[in-house]
Structure formats: C-alpha cells, structure tokens
C-alpha cells in the first residue's frame, strides 16, 4: 500500500507550472502536428509519462470525469495519485468522460464509445490522451486543417497503427468528434477533430 506521503508529488509550483503546461497544450491544439514540449515536471505514477502527469495536473479536477484504460486503472498508485492531486472522479463509462487516459494505444477502445458531443453542444466530448512511443521519429503523416499553414508533417511512432484511419470518423461527425492529445515523454502533439491526414508513408 502506498500512503499519501509516499505518493509521487504534483507540481512544485502549481500556478506557474499549470500555466506553462497549458500554453504547450494550447499551442499544440492551435497548431496540429507541431511538437510542443512540456517543461514543468511532476512525479508520475504507474505507467503515466511525465507529460501525461503534467497535463492531468493542469486540466483535471472534480468537474472532469476521467476514463482510464484497463492497464492504468489496474494501478492503485495511479488511482490514488489522480484522486489526491486532481480530485477528478474516475468513471467506468467512457461515454461520460471529459478525458480518457490511454497508457498504451493498443488498449484504445472503439472511439464511438467515448462522448462525441451533440450537434448543439459539440464541446461535450471526450478529449483522448494517448501515450505513444515517439513524436520525433517513425512514420510520417501529412496533415491539413485549421491551425496548419498548408501542410504539417508529423513523424511519429504511434499505436494503434490505424489511429488516423479511426479518426476519420471526425470527418462525418463534425462538429461532433474526438480531439486527441498524443504524449511521448515530455513531448505533446494535438490532433483536434478538424485535422485530416492527407498522406502517410507506410
């Protein structure tokens, strides 16, 4: 059993670390495919990466139900860490989650199981945070859409391998849809629902 005193710590400076982390995530969301760095560091629990922990501390609270993949939710350290540092309720039903934490993309459920928003309130959707192997090397993906000056090329090693194929549901659902945040260690890339893959190298 881990006691509270043994829990990995949150941010050393809550206010400024949250601001800095938010700006990295905001820049990532505003410029899809661009790789942003999360500078402030916090302790991590279980399979959580450093970037994931910082995003959780920045955006999660008692107003944001969180869905965890089976590997993360098996970790009592993660559950305690989230509860102690953010107060966010962990839910079993992904369709009511404000955020989903996916420690490993192979555990990503069918995207339709998450909240997709409604046509009147498309913002009431799940933001899916997926930990990936690399956002610097791997297959290259050409992206287009709002936030991108013509084409952005992302080189990444991502699971599930067909993530961008799955995200094509955003094309038919818009303005409903799923926004994705990819994390590799302290790097972050966002793929909002408006981003389209125009080509990818196999």
């Amino acid at each position: 059993m881990t006691t509270i005193a043994e829990l990995p710590p949150g941010f050393a400076d809550k206010v400024l670390s949250a601001q800095s982390t938010f700006r990295s995530v905001m820049d990532a969301m505003a410029r899809p495919g661009s790789v942003q760095r999360i500078i402030p560091m916090a302790g991590t629990a279980g399979p959580m990466m450093r970037g994931t922990a910082a995003i959780a501390l920045t955006l999660f609270d008692h107003d944001t139900p969180i869905w965890l993949d089976p590997r993360i939710s098996d970790s009592s350290d993660v559950l305690k860490w989230i509860k102690f540092h953010t107060g966010a309720p962990v839910v079993q039903d992904p369709s009511i989650a404000a955020f989903a934490l996916i420690s490993d993309g192979v555990l990503l459920p069918t995207l339709e199981r998450f909240a997709l928003g409604t046509n009147e309130y498309p913002d009431r959707s799940t933001t899916v945070i997926i930990q990936v192997e690399s956002l610097e090397a791997g297959r290259s993906f050409d992206l287009r859409g709002p936030g991108i000056d013509d084409v952005a090329t992302l080189q990444a090693s991502i699971r599930p391998f067909d993530l961008f194929d799955r995200l094509r549901l955003n094309e038919t659902l818009f303005p409903r849809g799923i926004d994705v945040v990819l994390v590799a260690d302290d790097f972050v890339v966002a793929i909002p629902r408006t981003t389209r893959v125009v080509s990818k190298e196999s």
Binding site: K14, V15, L16, A18, Q19, S20, F22, R23, V25, M26, M29, A30, R31, T58, L59, F60, D61, D63, T64, A98, T118, N119, E120, Y121, P122, D123, S125, T127, P146, G147, I148, D149, D150, F174, P175, G177, D179, P192, R193, T194
Partner: protein
C-alpha cells in the same frame, strides 16, 4: 512586503482550469461558442470581463502584453487592463504590436501583421451573431447545429434593399472554416480580412454572455456576402493626416469648432511608428507630435 491577496493573474486555479478547457474546445471547433462559467471580475462588464478572463487564463510571466481599445493603447480602459495584469501577473507590457505575445483588444485588429508567436484576445459584448434575428437561445443553438444560416443572409439582403449596399459596418458576420457563422465582436468590417488565414491564434471572450470561441491560426474566415454585392471593407477615402498611410483604418477627428476635421490612423502604435520612421502627413506638426515624443504613457 505583504503577500498579494489575489492569485497570479487574479483568477483562482479552478476557474483557470475551466476556462482553459473551454479554450481547447473552442480551438478544436473553430467559430463554435463554448459556454463557460464566467466569473465576477473587479471591473464592470462593459470593460471586457470576457477578454480579461481569457487573458488571465493564458498569461504567464514570460508574456509581453499589449491592450488596445479602438486602436489606442492609451484609453482609460486599455490602461487599466494593462495595469491590472502588470500588477496581478507581473507581466511586461508594451504598446508595440510586434513585441507583444498577447494582445487584448476591444475593437481593432492591429495594422501591423500578426505573427505565429502571438495570441489576439477579443473582448466581446454580444457573441451570438443570430441574436438580433432570434432571441431564443434554444433556437440559435439549433440553427448553428444545422448550419441553418438563411436568416442571416436575409438580414444582409434587407440592408441592400434599403440602402443599396450592406450597411452593417461593425460586427460584420463571418463564416469560419466553412462551417460556423461567427460574430467578430465590435470590430469594424475593415478588419475582417485580417482574420482570414492569420498566423496568430485568435480567442474571443464574452463575459456577460459566458461564451468563449476561437479562430485557430491559418483558418479560412470569409465575410458573408452576395455574388452581386461582394464584401467590401470600408475606409474613409483619405490618407492619414499624421503619417500619410493610405491603407490603415481611420478615425475622423474634429479639430476646431468651425467644422474642421482630419482623418488619422485609429491604430496609434502603427501611426506613431510610421511617423518615427519619417512618414509625414499634412497635419503632422500638430499636437500629436508632443504625444509621440512623450515616451511611456503609463
């Protein structure tokens, strides 16, 4: 020294988290108005509490803040917002557009082209472009959901029938990313083309109406119009009397009680930079010169 009684940038962390989540959704759904739980700010609603809350949620100690009201950095409103953030967040402030990382505005988009490392925050009084056509929130939500914007075109067409042209000069509706019709706050329509494909992120905050919306960088923004009555950004047909600019947005200034008047750039930073670079208009000797040399206005 006493510890400050308020949090960094005034807002408490829970409120910032809520606003930050709304900003992320707003960026992901360009032009869609995200509801948020607006907080009381230590200034009246007319002073841009929506913009102030957005700025407070994004601002960090590394930022350089510029605040404009109309095109001026020196109105009471602009000065008090700038001082508010200098005091509560300790940020550096500037009047120079190209030095700012965050620019809060009530009406104008600066004449100097914005760049990628900037965020433009608009203070919005009435965010719903369909509100004056349809007072019911449930109805306007439904119209946005279905992209049913015929009423808006009817309103613009009525202008043409009555005035021979589209008379709407401020808050002229735009369509963002070919989907949502959006109200660009009370900006003059002269500025609408600057929103299109802009390298900077544009965020809009409406405090009283509790809405946040966004235009991501490099996003298509089209002013609504008709094939036979295309959109035209209006400008007084004169050069600036102080800096001779031919393509800036002008304010008409009454110069005496005998009906004398002159046209000068509404963007004071732009006008003063041009004068400093040696551009002179027909009236550039006037009292303005003193102000331009006065240094810091704070």
């Amino acid at each position: 020294m006493n510890a400050p009684a308020y949090n960094f940038a005034y807002l408490d962390e829970q409120t910032k988290r809520m606003i930050r989540r709304a900003i992320l959704k707003a960026i992901a759904i360009p032009g869609y108005q995200v509801p948020f739980a607006s907080r009381e700010m230590p200034m009246p609603y007319g002073w841009g509490t929506g913009g102030v809350q957005v700025t407070a949620a994004i601002l960090g100690p590394q930022d350089v803040l510029k605040v404009i009201d109309q095109g001026s950095d020196d109105t009471t409103n602009a000065i008090s917002i700038r001082k508010f953030f200098a005091r509560t967040a300790g940020v550096a402030t500037t009047t120079a557009t190209d030095e700012a990382t965050v620019i809060q505005t009530r009406h104008r988009i600066p004449e100097t082209a914005l760049h990628e490392n900037q965020v433009l925050v608009y203070q919005v009084p009435i965010p719903e472009p369909l509100r004056f056509l349809e007072p019911r929130e449930t109805e306007t939500r439904r119209m946005h959901a279905l992209a049913e914007y015929g009423l808006m075109h009817v309103k613009l067409y009525e202008d043409i029938a009555r005035f021979g042209h589209i008379a709407t000069a401020y808050a002229y509706p735009v369509k963002v990313n070919a989907r949502y019709v959006m109200d660009p706050s009370p900006t003059p329509k002269f500025d609408n083309p600057k929103m299109d494909n802009c390298p900077a992120l544009q965020l809009f905050g409406a405090g009283r109406e509790k809405r946040i919306y966004a235009i991501p960088p490099y996003t298509q923004v089209v002013s609504l119009d008709f094939e036979d009555h295309p959109f035209e950004p209006y400008r007084f047909n004169a050069p600036c009397a102080l800096c001779a600019a031919e393509n800036s947005y002008l304010d008409e200034i009454v110069t005496d009680d005998k009906g004398g008047r002159m046209f000068v750039c509404s963007d004071t930073d732009y006008c003063e930079s041009r004068q400093a670079a040696g551009h002179h208009g027909s009236q550039s000797a006037a009292p303005y010169k003193e102000k331009a040399q006065g240094g810091s206005h704070d």
